[in-house]
Symmetry: D4
Subunit: 228 residues, 8 copies
Amino acid sequence: MAVDGIAELDHDRARRRGYPEAVFCQGKSPAQLRAIATALAERYAGVPAEDVPVTLFTRADAERAEAVLAVLPDAMHEPEAQLLAWPATPPRPTGGLVVVACAGTSDLPVAREAELTARYLGRRTELVVDVGVAGLHRILARTETLRSAAAVIVVAGMDGALPGVVAGLVSAPVVAVPTSVGYGAAFDGLAPLLTMLNACAPGVGVVNIDNGYGGGHLAAQIAAPRAD
Amino acid sequence: MAVDGIAELDHDRARRRGYPEAVFCQGKSPAQLRAIATALAERYAGVPAEDVPVTLFTRADAERAEAVLAVLPDAMHEPEAQLLAWPATPPRPTGGLVVVACAGTSDLPVAREAELTARYLGRRTELVVDVGVAGLHRILARTETLRSAAAVIVVAGMDGALPGVVAGLVSAPVVAVPTSVGYGAAFDGLAPLLTMLNACAPGVGVVNIDNGYGGGHLAAQIAAPRAD
Amino acid sequence: MAVDGIAELDHDRARRRGYPEAVFCQGKSPAQLRAIATALAERYAGVPAEDVPVTLFTRADAERAEAVLAVLPDAMHEPEAQLLAWPATPPRPTGGLVVVACAGTSDLPVAREAELTARYLGRRTELVVDVGVAGLHRILARTETLRSAAAVIVVAGMDGALPGVVAGLVSAPVVAVPTSVGYGAAFDGLAPLLTMLNACAPGVGVVNIDNGYGGGHLAAQIAAPRAD
Amino acid sequence: MAVDGIAELDHDRARRRGYPEAVFCQGKSPAQLRAIATALAERYAGVPAEDVPVTLFTRADAERAEAVLAVLPDAMHEPEAQLLAWPATPPRPTGGLVVVACAGTSDLPVAREAELTARYLGRRTELVVDVGVAGLHRILARTETLRSAAAVIVVAGMDGALPGVVAGLVSAPVVAVPTSVGYGAAFDGLAPLLTMLNACAPGVGVVNIDNGYGGGHLAAQIAAPRAD
Amino acid sequence: MAVDGIAELDHDRARRRGYPEAVFCQGKSPAQLRAIATALAERYAGVPAEDVPVTLFTRADAERAEAVLAVLPDAMHEPEAQLLAWPATPPRPTGGLVVVACAGTSDLPVAREAELTARYLGRRTELVVDVGVAGLHRILARTETLRSAAAVIVVAGMDGALPGVVAGLVSAPVVAVPTSVGYGAAFDGLAPLLTMLNACAPGVGVVNIDNGYGGGHLAAQIAAPRAD
Amino acid sequence: MAVDGIAELDHDRARRRGYPEAVFCQGKSPAQLRAIATALAERYAGVPAEDVPVTLFTRADAERAEAVLAVLPDAMHEPEAQLLAWPATPPRPTGGLVVVACAGTSDLPVAREAELTARYLGRRTELVVDVGVAGLHRILARTETLRSAAAVIVVAGMDGALPGVVAGLVSAPVVAVPTSVGYGAAFDGLAPLLTMLNACAPGVGVVNIDNGYGGGHLAAQIAAPRAD
Amino acid sequence: MAVDGIAELDHDRARRRGYPEAVFCQGKSPAQLRAIATALAERYAGVPAEDVPVTLFTRADAERAEAVLAVLPDAMHEPEAQLLAWPATPPRPTGGLVVVACAGTSDLPVAREAELTARYLGRRTELVVDVGVAGLHRILARTETLRSAAAVIVVAGMDGALPGVVAGLVSAPVVAVPTSVGYGAAFDGLAPLLTMLNACAPGVGVVNIDNGYGGGHLAAQIAAPRAD
Amino acid sequence: MAVDGIAELDHDRARRRGYPEAVFCQGKSPAQLRAIATALAERYAGVPAEDVPVTLFTRADAERAEAVLAVLPDAMHEPEAQLLAWPATPPRPTGGLVVVACAGTSDLPVAREAELTARYLGRRTELVVDVGVAGLHRILARTETLRSAAAVIVVAGMDGALPGVVAGLVSAPVVAVPTSVGYGAAFDGLAPLLTMLNACAPGVGVVNIDNGYGGGHLAAQIAAPRAD
């Protein structure tokens, strides 16, 4: 679907991969986003909401979110996660549970982006907050929840030690999302990124720094219903 | 299981995580490896091979492999992958198929380590070689094989572009393993590592550079039999 | 041409290299730019526009563009590309076609800077947008256009995988322009820069991050008319 | 052309791109190289040498070169450049002249790899040595040679300043090849790589550190005969 | 000289080293700067200006400069260089000439800081602008001036190639000052810094990025009157 | 203590470690901080101030400090150090003396954060300012004070040389806190961080860049009363 | 004590700091080490061993150790830790206990260097091995031992997560020693170094990568007998 | 002087700069070095030694030194400094004194290279060893020597703190030479390099890591006889 000579939305992707396209808003102008939203609105005009595949708009700051909402006023908008979804109702969940564990309060925006992405891609989700390794009893107290997941997303900044600890507690795959939370030698997320890549416990797959969307997407794929 | 005051093998891990411990041989002396192998041999003396959980020995160079084989002469040894497994027979496969796609011939050792790890953790595997993006027809010709996988491991050095391309073709999760193949600005695997973390297509989880074991382990977990 | 003790414009360069000087506006004050523009205006006062060699003003933000336009109100100004050209009419095109392929919508400003530079240096140009490798069918559908070029400029951020893929499809040289589009481990363009330097397919020459001007200039030179 | 389950030679590439495949020897075992060489020998058995497309073997150290020569004893072998070509006779030159300028004696191996690559891809070549910027008169004395080229390859380590200086002297495109010559803050070629990417003079396309093959290939493409 | 429990001015330094203290304003609050300026004013109250040793205030943005000028209204203030000097009259020059060569117009603020520092430390100075290596004739035309210097300061951003070229032309020491002028792979001055450290021509001493004060100080020491 | 589903305060920590929790304010919203402060106020409502364990709020900019003060108006607030403490009265000091040595005036905010942290954790403290190594006599004049400490905190930016020099003068442990004071090749504190990690004198433990809180905490632990 | 014009042993240091000098053997020639050992032997000739202050020789590979032993045959030599001590008997222990926790078997050489250093500086020591965070029960089982220490040294490579976890369990200071154990994105110890600097739990002081000597020295100082 | 098509010796340099060419041996083959040495020998055949300008051969390992000595057996050869000089007798000294201060014994090879270079370029030299900042009394004891110099070269690895300390003690310029002595976070000399670039005391010019030749050359220029 060509939009204004500025974008080539990959609608074939839903067929090819089973998941809809997402629109990365950062770096796009509000005008470009309005054009993309308009093209979507026109394409699905008259189609019942439950038959319209969800489109996600990621990394949308206030100005960009407003541009999308001007065209799609009924979209879901979570400002903390800089995420919009249209239509607003997530699909009925299938597959396994996705648990999102978040090391600290400051990591919440990324954790929420991950959780909502997994939910809009069709999974049940559960969020566990403020369970960093400085007080191990907090994460150990949640072992049962973690073990009930088909995929665990672990979001952490600073030392990024949580995913390796969680991977040592569960048999499900762990999706590790480093965040830019921290300062100094955290180097905008480089430190937790390296920690996660070097996790002593196997079973950890890492995505980009602050990439809640990518973490949620990967976990949704892992926990998807499957007939081997 | 305490070994000689030098190691504390985590046999509880099989119970906790469902996967056996692996022994990381790099940095251990041959004498230490002999002691560990002896402890294993003694623990399972008299137990039928099919009842002994597999132990992997990873990153074992010739000298270290010899030390293990001196104690466990019937172990499987794949020198190219620097891997040993004892007992030598992998478990009967369960769960989904793991496909390993390898960008270039020079990436084969890491790809083989990944494939064997997945197989010894109980999955069926298939290896696809020399399908780098410089000649796209090679990977496109394997689309059907890739789409039959429950998890795809993609091993690539240099530009590391293959995982993102594969992720755009399949709906299964992609485990990306960057390798240190290349020179100059590949910076011993940093370049493909960054490429994979920034893959435009979502659905890519990255492990450490040259970490075939980690890639195989994560893919085996993703493709494990599951009852949601 | 000495300007105010602040610059030494290299008019000899047209003779030496066949291409006019460009004024890099970033880091120059508006007052300095006005002085430079005035010197140009005075030098070519009374000369017919078609006899005045084009001068480009690159990386001119709004304030700096305004300073130039205050003196040269009839200059071409493309705000998205932060580029001005004076006189405004590009030369009649000679040589081969320059195709600019742009991976994502967010890379458009750099792609436009490249395209306009090539055009003002005397080449025919064509722009192909939103053809990133996450959906290969998009770039494959443009193969014919790409193969008609004497030089292809490929502009991409994030994983920067597109230039290597394009180089595998065409026989013309590829000029790769990494962009700072992305976040986290894209490290402001470092990731795509490294990807491009390590492209598996030969035939890729890389320029600086976000250097649309440099990419357009190099492509214009490659596609220049030549008598061997 | 599948070789032994270890490689998939891209013979289609000659048709697609007009240039033959090269075999990157680093990281391949001598046994693998023998298998590849044997596959080549068998494919072209009985074909007159002048009808066999050239195959290059790059980055072949002594042991790997010996493996290739054991199968293809009549191949051209330049040990300094770690390059072999088979058949040994380069094609009759067409297109424009490629001049290779080499900053220091220690850069010669990379410069020779670049020159031979361009020659085996069908161009006339000329090599200019030891013309670093510490003594500018040396490069200035070669201005006429440089200006006769359709493409100039500049090979330099340490400060990597030569390509920018050459680009300021000629109208042809400059292909810059940084080398790992130097020590300390040269960081194995990182310093000249950055210098070249930031060259003040436009018209410089950069390839990977020590990538003489890539530099020669790109220059051969630039200087190829062309009908616009 | 203790100031307010916030600073310990090193007045002994003039005796020890022969050069006065400088006050680094960045990171100090306007209130702290007022306190320091007041302490100076009080200490030299009633002393004739020509007997007061010069104090430099470096890296003083508008707000900090204003704080100093509020106390020392007769100080010299050069906003472009973010420099103040009090008393305003530089000492009568002694020793050799310091020539400051500046690669581009955008490097002028740093070059001016270097020139003024050298002058206030007692040297004659001369500034040469916009003589980057992209047009070699510009720097070659100034060879005589450069050779008349007892120390040459070369200020350059981007590729940072100018100091090495100048060092090849003169017998005096060259003080190289990299600047943060540029973008992308210039990495805020890292690229020219590395270039200068790897200059092929010996005789180059490098100071910190954008450190015009340090460059001017070192050159003033080199060119100081000396009795061996 | 669960707060609003956004935080899990670790009150067990006082029992486990003997030191109260601190709230890292950066990255938390003012609303979240108000919720945390409210939870604290409610928990200790009616408890005499001297029986309430101190809670520190670190890295609180003006907006965040205001949010805390709105709920806990009697908290101690030091804006320069971006620190709040509630209750405002530090505990009666025990253990040894903590001396904080600060290299330059611009390092004062971090030094104050360190000093206040140590004081609120129960130690006597003393602050020594502007004793950088450029004028050694300043630090040498304070040798006696330094030698009276049970732990010395040294705060320095730029070259970060002071901790190694101090460690050579005293027998107590030195806690080194690098700061982001400086510019250019200080790389936001990386340079002093590396200097401190490589200090020639043993006895230096390093914390994160600008981490005055961490430095003060570690020093307070070192100087704690101890019965061996 | 001047040795041969090659070294200036700092015997004053024992008086100044209370700890003897150590000889860093790496980078010194065997001949230089023999000279230093000879100077020591001569200085203390005839002095009873218990009155001779211990000298440590650190980072002594086999060849260098042999050089020292040739002169001081009764020195203690621990090859794994590359450490020698002369005289061989450590001083009678005073102060608190130093516990060394070692994440993996491959970290043992550095852990042993730390432990022996602390012991030769006069502390009681205890070593806990193979307690990495991938199996938390291992470290939790040692909590009592850890809490009995006056200082805990934690040695870890790869993800370096152990020090932060330990710091959350104890009230004593933690000295963190990152090791170069690992591969790929461990970047020779950079990853665990950054993890430790960003540890979420306060109370961690970091020393250089593989610096067992420095870690042992700092812990010995922390646990030294003290009269506040 | 063209040598064998492999080098272009810059004999004009003596005239231009007043200092002879040096031959950088690293990266040159023994055969190439023999050719260069032969060309020198032939050029000055029959010329009295005192009329032959000195040529230095730098970074010559044993094999390369042997190649030079095979042709020029009477050359001076200092293996520790990897330096040869021919003719062997340095010129009669002129200008000021160059003092070389060396932080540790392991830095001696670089310090000797610097000292010999300055001597062969015509200066008096004096070497001060093992005066690192961990024991300040050592360097303070040499203040008088340092103050007698026209230029001070300071050679240091690890924390690289010595040049800044020395610069605070003298009025002459300091040439700082970082070395790769150290390990871990010294990153092969990066740490001391950054320290020196950020030295708090002005008056420090930095050269490349381990670049004793460059440091000696720059100091010789600074201390050269001068008529202002």
